[in-house]
């Protein structure tokens, strides 16, 4: 199916998320959509898939102008979207998931659906049993289920929003071969990503968005530096890592024990130097989040001592830690970090400690304007936080940190952000380190861990490695430890040493 977008405009309050976008995608094409976070990719795709309505502009499917009222209507007209986080029902069976969204019958025909799943699975070489439950599938398999479901419902255009996040390398290859196969059948594939190498190896043509506008289109062979320049408007380079020598110890953990309903952490001992960055690596749920929360007083330790700047804070509440210069930045920005409905000014005013009774709103708005320009947040002092894009929410969180800080605890500081935002955020964090702030951060991106940490701690189902100098580590070694291999040697070495 041929897809044409003509002069699509969409505004959210003061933010112009899509500015007159024109796009022409012939049937059987894999169209890449590149752009950093907040560039307007998701908005454009939501317009095409019926989640939101454009303020202005036309959508043509096979040269026929259409109005798409809802996601269900989009599917009816042949447009289906796969979201970054699969929108399925984990506690339900594959078969039931498959049947949801089917219109026009009161009693679902399970046998027919089951046969359809098997047919489609053989066609693409997937191995999914209709009778299993979705929560036992991997993210890659859930994508496969969603692809089959949309095809079964008659989708001719398939939109993939960041589909390579959170799936393994083999699943990625499988996904790409599936996409090529679908394109050969005449389906139109729209592939939204900020990963250059994925777009390069897969797409027949690429459109680049920046600040809501279509800034350029390209066909293979791609000039990567040219694409990067279109995405960011400038070329970027990775900053140097500062190597610090330990002069004074900021945080001491003595035989710290932690308990959670799933895992136990025993006898962690550690000295964190001021200005030092320690990365916490491990599969999600291996104890690193528990550890980070214990360092901020959000989780009580069940044994041992936590000493910050020579003061024993064991068992104190988070607010005591906060008063002693500890800040915790959660991964779930809108759930834990920011309050929806409050604007940026209100957030900045709240983040500043004040003993006064009345708020000086003039000063607050001035503060907000300063922070917005200093941290390059795309928004205004009266923008509510939920109207900002993910990257800008993260910048806002960073902008809210108080100025002298001794310890900064970060959960996935750059998750879901594009390269430029990530580099920007790290440059801000390293400025802090130069002023003596120490950092613990969790990341599932091993390269990020190796690049920015002075030392690395690896977590594996409750086991915690001693801090390892990142100079002596590489991704392979780290990957092995995260997967639970090489721990015996590590323990031996620490006993010998």
């Amino acid at each position: 199916m041929k897809v044409e977008l003509q002069d699509i405009h969409k505004t959210f309050g003061a933010v112009h998320a899509n500015v007159g976008i024109n796009l022409n995608i012939p049937a059987g094409t894999i169209q890449g959509i590149l752009g950093e976070n907040g560039a307007g990719k998701s908005t454009l795709m939501k317009v095409l898939s019926g989640f939101i309505h454009a303020d202005r502009g036309k959508i043509l499917l096979d040269d026929r102008p259409v109005l798409i009222h809802s996601p269900a209507d989009a599917i009816h007209q042949g447009v289906g979207m796969l979201h970054q986080d699969p929108l399925d029902f984990p506690p339900m069976m594959v078969l039931d998931n498959f049947l949801i969204g089917q219109v026009g019958s009161v009693f679902p025909n399970r046998r027919k659906a089951s046969a359809a799943i098997r047919d489609l699975a053989t066609q693409f070489g997937f191995s999914i049993d209709p009778q299993t439950y979705v929560d036992s599938l991997t993210v890659g398999e859930r994508q496969q289920l969603e692809i089959m479901r949309l095809l079964w419902l008659g989708a001719q255009v398939l939109i993939f929003d960041e589909p390579t996040t959170g799936i393994s390398a083999t699943q990625k290859l499988k996904l790409f071969s599936t996409l090529v196969q679908l394109a050969e059948q005449g389906k139109t594939i729209i592939f939204v990503s900020h990963k250059l190498e994925d777009v390069e190896s897969l797409c027949d043509q690429v459109a680049v968005l920046r600040q809501g506008s279509l800034v350029g289109e390209a066909r293979p062979p791609y000039q990567i530096d040219q694409l990067v320049e279109m995405m960011f408007g400038k070329t970027i380079s990775v900053g140097e890592r500062t190597s610090s020598r330990c002069e004074d110890v900021l945080l001491s953990l003595r035989d710290v024990c932690l308990d959670d309903y799933r895992l136990q952490i025993r006898d962690v001992g550690l000295d964190l130097c001021s200005g030092e960055i320690i990365g916490l690596a491990g599969m999600e749920g291996s104890g690193q989040s528990l550890f980070l929360r214990a360092c901020s007083g959000l989780v009580r330790t069940t044994g041992g001592k936590v000493i910050l700047n020579g003061r024993d804070l064991t068992g104190s509440s988070h607010h005591v830690f906060k008063r002693n210069g500890v800040a915790f930045l959660p991964a779930a920005r809108l759930e834990e970090g920011l309050a929806s409905g409050l604007d940026l000014t209100e957030h900045f005013v709240l983040s500043e400690e004040s003993k006064k009774f009345f708020v000086n709103w003039d000063k607050g708005r001035k503060l907000a304007r300063e922070r917005i320009s200093e941290f390059n947040i795309r928004g205004t002092p009266v923008s509510t936080v939920e109207s900002l894009s993910g990257g800008n929410q993260q910048r806002a969180l960073l902008a809210m940190l108080r100025v002298p800080l001794s310890l900064l605890l970060l959960e996935h500081p750059t998750r879901g952000l594009d390269i430029e935002s990530a580099i920007y955020i790290w440059s801000k964090l390293k400025e802090r380190c130069k002023q003596g702030t120490s950092i613990f951060f969790i990341s599932s991106d091993l390269e990020e861990v190796l690049q920015y940490s002075d030392r690395v701690m690896v977590f594996f189902s409750g086991h915690v490695s001693p801090p390892l100098g990142s100079g002596r580590l590489n991704t392979d070694l780290l990957g092995e430890l995260i997967g639970g291999r090489g721990w015996d040697e590590l323990e031996q070495r620490s006993q010998d040493g």
């Binding site: 988070h318 607010h319 759930e335 834990e336 309050a339 929806s340 709240l350 708020v359």
Partner: protein
């Protein structure tokens, strides 16, 4: 853009009010009552004479107080259904203080002041019970408040028929009225007290500035919108929820205290007169904006007073005003929902 939205808002509100009137008319027709006659009687009943209008103000003041208090709890994201009980406890504490001090040699003005303060304390105590149930017991404030309302009513009845009963036998008409020197002074020939008037208006002004201009108000808003984020931002969250309950209880208790000292001069079984629930309706109707509380509360008070003469003239029950108020709230909320669906938020 902004201007268009304002007009759009007004249009939707007007349509909602018209729909509410239409629906109430329908109810009247079903009840075989002449609608125009009924509306005319409400207007005459509320605005016919200066004395009647002053009675509207008498009903307006407790409503201002309860709504002002409720704005605080709503800002903190709390549904303080228990406000009825808090008004009642305010009245009980005021009555108690007056009973204790009426024989003493203290000047009457001081006794009245102490009694009103005691009422505020009573309301705050009852509210802090709902708050404690919520923060320490994990009981949703709606259920806690509802339970406490029943207890407050039972307590009132027990006091009126038990320890505080009139000489002879207790009666539904309440406790023995207090001597006239313990009444809050009123304007000559009216039931309206200048003191109530000042306190009611002052309450709204205080709440307006408290919510808009202070760190306390901002922190309450953060707690109401996202309690986890507020905690990480350094706001002592459960303390602020408790404080919201207590501030609301103070205002509710003041309302109850003024009902005793300025209006009834005794404790009666239904001393809260539904002002707490009416306050909830007003707060919802004004979308929790302090600026609109005064006129909307005045309109509600006018309906209440205006419908008093309906039973006499038209043999209609005076609860007609309640029907109109409830329908109005539902239609306005529905219109707001429809506007958001059709034109997006803001």
């Amino acid at each position: 853009m902004v201007k268009r939205n304002v007009w759009l808002n007004i249009l939707f509100q007007v349509v909602a009010v018209l729909l509410a009137l239409g629906f109430t008319t329908l109810v009247l027709l079903v009840a075989k009552a002449p609608p125009l006659e009924a509306y005319k009687n409400i207007i005459i009943g509320g605005l016919g004479t200066f004395k009647k209008f002053s009675d509207v103000l008498v009903a307006w003041l407790p409503l201002l107080l309860t709504t002002s208090g409720l704005l605080v709890t709503f800002t903190a994201g709390l549904w303080n259904i228990g406000i009825e009980g808090q008004v009642t406890l305010g009245a009980i504490f005021t009555t108690w203080a007056l009973r204790l001090l009426q024989e003493s040699s203290l000047p009457p003005a001081l006794i009245i002041a102490i009694a009103i303060l005691a009422g505020m304390l009573g309301g705050a105590l009852w509210a802090s019970l709902a708050g404690a149930l919520k923060t320490f017991g994990g009981v949703n404030e709606i259920f806690g408040g509802l339970g406490l309302n029943f207890i407050a009513t039972a307590l009132t009845i027990w006091l009126i028929f038990g320890p505080w009963k009139r000489p002879g036998t207790g009666s539904m008409s309440g406790t023995q009225p207090f001597p006239e020197e313990l009444w809050l002074p009123t304007f000559p020939d009216l039931r309206l007290s200048p003191w109530s008037l000042v306190l009611g208006i002052l309450a709204l002004v205080v709440i307006y500035f408290l919510l808009r201009g202070t760190y306390f108000g901002l922190k309450l808003k953060a707690v109401g919108r996202n309690i986890r984020a507020a905690f990480l931002l350094g706001v002592p969250t459960w303390q602020h929820m408790m404080l919201a309950f207590i501030v609301c209880g103070l205002f509710a208790g003041l309302a109850g205290g003024l009902q005793v000292t300025a209006v009834y001069h005794r404790l009666i079984p239904s001393i809260s007169s539904g002002y707490g629930f009416a306050g909830l309706m007003v707060a919802m109707l004004v979308n929790y904006q302090a600026l609109w509380v005064a006129p909307v509360a005045l309109f509600f008070a006018f309906l209440n007073i205006g419908s008093i003469q309906l039973p006499i003239v038209l043999k209609l029950d005076s609860t007609l005003s309640g029907v109109l108020q409830g329908i109005l709230v539902l239609f306005v909320l529905m219109a707001e929902g429809a506007r958001q669906r059709l034109f997006g938020k803001r």
